[in-house]
Amino acid sequence: MIEMLDVWKGFHSHKSGAQHVILRGVHGRIRRGDQVGILGRNGSGKSTLLRLLSGVENPDRGVIRREMSISWPIGGAYGLQTITSGASNARFIARLYGTPVQQTQDFVEEFSELGRYFFEPVNTYSSGMVSRLLMGLSFAVDFDCYLVDEALSTGDARFAAKCQHMLQMRRQNAAMILVSHNAMHVRQYCDTAAILRNGMLEFYEDVDEAIAAYQGL
């Protein structure tokens, strides 16, 4: 389970030194097997929320309790060494998280379907390829909860199906939190949804209801 109690987070402006508050008292609870979509406009604090959930940054106020092993935020090129190859990143992740090195590399190579690019530097990849690598890397570690920051949005239909299969397979154990500005992705992957607006999180039991509310914003 992951629990967020009154989580606040702000950033200092680099220019004026003023404090911009991004999250203003977020509450929430995610259980094993939950697949939660978090909808929010650009700049609403989705990525900030994921960084706090993953534990790489601390909230200014409030508590986040984690009783699951949580992935790093999967998106952008987070946590990647972009001047080395996909294969070398896979070996790094294996050593860091303690999975068998060769097995991990083979898994990522097969899952991400990068072909010969798997052995080329990541900074030569397209954004879709980076996403595929990231999804492969994170699925290669048996996390209890996957934090996905738009990484699923760049893949094609075939890759989406593959990810869905993988998540389905781990349904019993693994949770997923997907943040997106795109309602379609939330509908595709999630069974509950929440909207992040004005620095607060509103949960909806029903995905369609959440999407309707989101689109009415």
Binding site: F11, S47, T48, R51, S54, G55, V56, E57, N58, I70, W72, P73, A77, Y78, G79, L80, Q81, T82, I83, T84, S88, R91, F92, A94, R95, L96, Y97, G98, T99, P100, Q103, T104, F107, E110, F111, F139, A140, V141, D142, K162, H165, M166, M169, R170
Partner: protein, 266 residues
């Protein structure tokens, strides 16, 4: 389909920590030297070239050393350890700013970043220093008079470098321009560190002043370890240990203070 998901091995806290360090050292090695087939050669060739170059210059210009100490070996064994110290210091100072993407992985702590860099730098330079020592022994018959002390002073030098470097890395998080001072600092440190200068050859007042610098103590100890009775040396190992302790405790505290200030959102 890929239904066989790799499982994480159960690891204790210590082995998990060592696993993280292992991953970081290998990554660091690959980033710095792994881009080409002969890349790893640079690991040793880089300090070797500088060591030889500097020693060669001294060999050509020097007017000789007491007790027939060979000029080349003397300067090479003075320069190589200082090169290691400087390498550890500068690479540590940049450890946080140059590894931000790694902090996305929660198991990577700030101190792991600097420890990995210290380990790699120390290992590479130790190979070079080892080659110099063995070469001096085989070809000149100059084996270290006190090998144990030699190793200890080398480790001490690395620990001072680690402490100062880590402290600087944390300071840079608070005051960014500190980064600009690192390079001049390491250069200006050279005359005060007695890497080449025998403290027996300066006035007592200068000597006493220089001995406040723990690095000068380390270099004197190293000369004593290598040349034994051929040189007169002044050093205090407890004094050096005190510095190491203070520097590293301060560095750890500074790292703790720096962590909450770091944000990936850049």
């Amino acid at each position: 389909m890929s239904d066989h998901v790799p499982r994480r091995a159960r690891r204790g806290a210590l082995s998990a920590q060592l696993g993280v360090l292992h991953a970081l050292v290998l990554r660091e090695m690959q980033l710095r030297f792994g881009q080409s087939k002969v890349g790893y050669l640079w690991l040793v060739a880089e300090p070797m070239m500088l060591g030889f170059g500097v020693s060669l210059i001294h060999w050509m210009t020097d007017r000789g050393l007491p007790n027939n100490i060979p000029v080349f070996l003397f300067y090479a064994l003075g320069y190589a350890p200082f090169y290691m110290f400087r390498g550890i210091l500068t690479r540590n100072a940049g450890a946080i700013t140059h590894s931000m993407p790694l902090l996305y992985h929660r198991s990577v702590k700030l101190h792991d970043l600097t420890m990995a860099r210290t380990l790699l730098e120390a290992a590479a330079c130790s190979v070079v220093i080892g080659l110099l020592v063995v070469g001096g022994g085989l070809f000149g018959g100059y084996w270290p008079a006190h090998p144990g002390l030699f190793v200890v002073s080398l480790v001490f030098s690395a620990l001072i470098g680690h402490g100062v470097g880590t402290l600087l890395a944390a300071l840079i998080v608070f005051v960014e321009p500190v980064e600009r001072l690192v390079h001049p600092l390491t250069y200006l440190m050279m005359p005060f560190s007695a890497a080449f200068l025998m403290l027996a050859s300066v006035t007592p007042a200068t000597r006493d002043a220089l001995l406040y610098n723990p690095l000068a103590n380390v270099h004197e100890a190293m000369r004593h370890a290598q040349w034994g009775d051929k040189v007169v040396s002044y050093f205090s190992l407890p004094y050096v240990m005190l510095w190491i302790l203070i520097l590293n405790v301060l560095a750890m505290a500074a790292m703790r203070a720096a962590r909450p200030r770091l944000s990936m959102a850049r």
